[in-house]
Subunit: 276 residues, 2 copies
């Protein structure tokens, strides 16, 4: 039985998603807690849609877990694995992880490779007087004003199918070609700026680098030609700022319908294996 778990977390207290020895991570806490409530002899093995960095938050993270040989404890002999998780997991987790949904999925479902799209939002203030201190755990306070129109113009150049190597942390294998379907900016009534990035997938530090590039434009420190040059770069560009993690939230991951799951996983695996 394959189970999909949708979850949200406040990244503040975690050293990122991925399990690490002696550090509190979302994967570590989640897998250990699943093992505890399900009485597994070792931690559960989860696969997630987006491996968030230390300090990054999630409202729409998705993981899958396999429960092939699980047998319920005698006192709850009629429970299936998903029912047991639904009953026991939410209350066993610390309050910075929230379980939104637990459901059985087809065996072809893969939280990482079946995903069609990831949507991230970066939130920032560009005036200290506007800052809402209640939200400061998940918004960035910039002490200077930015020109939103200039940032919108730059974002238009960045959207589409490009090699985003300038915006990625170097990686031995794999392509940095991505289809950035959306990079949009909106200023809320409160003054908060929300930058939405939506793509099939992102490489490491890509969203925070895209936002860093936009902020540099918004401050008038570089012009639009610099943005275009970055898209032609052959390697990581060091003067693109990587914005602080705590302004970033993984909001949503979308998947195809159950029938199309196998096809999409196959596509994603193939694409990821194209060498540069």
């Amino acid at each position: 039985m394959k189970v999909r778990i949708d979850l949200a977390y406040d990244g503040t207290g975690f050293s990122g998603w991925a399990r690490q020895v002696d550090l509190r991570t979302v994967q570590g806490v989640l897998e250990d807690t699943i093992a505890q409530v399900m009485r597994l002899s070792e931690p559960a093995m989860t696969v997630c849609a987006g491996r968030t960095d230390a300090g990054v938050h999630a409202r729409g993270q998705v993981v899958h877990v396999d429960f092939d040989n699980w047998t319920p404890p005698a006192r709850s002999a009629s429970l299936t694995a998903d029912e047991a998780l639904r009953q026991w997991l939410p209350r066993a987790l610390p309050d910075d992880i929230v379980i939104r949904q637990v459901r059985v999925v087809p065996s072809e479902f893969d939280a990482r490779f079946s995903a069609l799209e990831r949507r991230y939002v970066y939130r920032l203030w560009d005036s200290l007087a506007n800052v809402d201190p209640l939200t400061r755990g998940y918004t960035l306070a910039l002490p200077h004003h930015v020109n939103l129109d200039a940032m919108v113009q730059a974002a238009q150049h960045l959207t589409g199918l490009h090699d985003f190597v300038a915006f990625c942390r170097p990686k031995e294998h794999g392509t940095s070609i991505r289809d950035l379907k959306e990079l949009s900016l909106v200023r809320r009534d409160s003054g908060l700026i929300e930058i939405t990035a939506r793509a099939d997938a992102f490489c490491h530090s890509m969203v925070r680098s895209l936002v860093g590039c936009l902020v540099t434009i918004g401050r008038g420190q570089r012009d639009i030609e610099w943005v275009k040059t970055n898209l032609l770069a052959q390697a990581r560009v060091n003067d693109i700022i990587v914005m602080p993690a705590h302004g970033l939230t993984l909001e949503e991951v979308t998947y195809p319908s159950d029938e199309d799951l196998g096809l999409q996983a196959e596509r994603a695996r193939t694409r990821r294996e194209i060498p540069r």
Copy 2:
């Protein structure tokens, strides 16, 4: 010179508004920081619109401070007190207090007695699966569903001019008669319930008790007759729950135009002195 300061704060790290020996309070931090940046020989004396309890937040707190004999340091000899505050105070404060505005007001202005209305919002979830962990510092997570329609009906009985003694912490002097102009409930798309309370003034623990009364109704543990009975009580009713502080935020305080300031302060002082 009388200066009005509008501010916001995250109440989590404070033992409430009012200065206390050896405890971190908003008033204490604010007055000490004003004294420090303005080079006063003792803490500034502030008067605030709403003395929030430990853990209660504010987005629209208002204080006034007098600077009658202030002289700027030699290096900034041309600065007036309000200009100096505007320049120096925001960056000197810790990041859980945000200064929204600093301005000179007529000498009749009194942050407490000139206020026409205070608006508070209490935020809660009634399903653990809906909880947004990023907002958990200023929202309450109830593990059970509540009936919003029943709560709306109860709120209609509570609005208006009543003696709210059932909902107030006992106090030696002063009336608990208040004009509750609004007690409204709305469920956001996220599932979050926002309860807005608006009145000329509130007595101690009144908003959290009103919300506690509504939640008891929403859970079906009491009926509407109990609400009516509470409004006829002659003393604090102990089975009205006082909800946890961290769900409550002082959102806004409204004042009359500058010309009407003196009149309103006089009215408020008179009203407060009516014995029960």
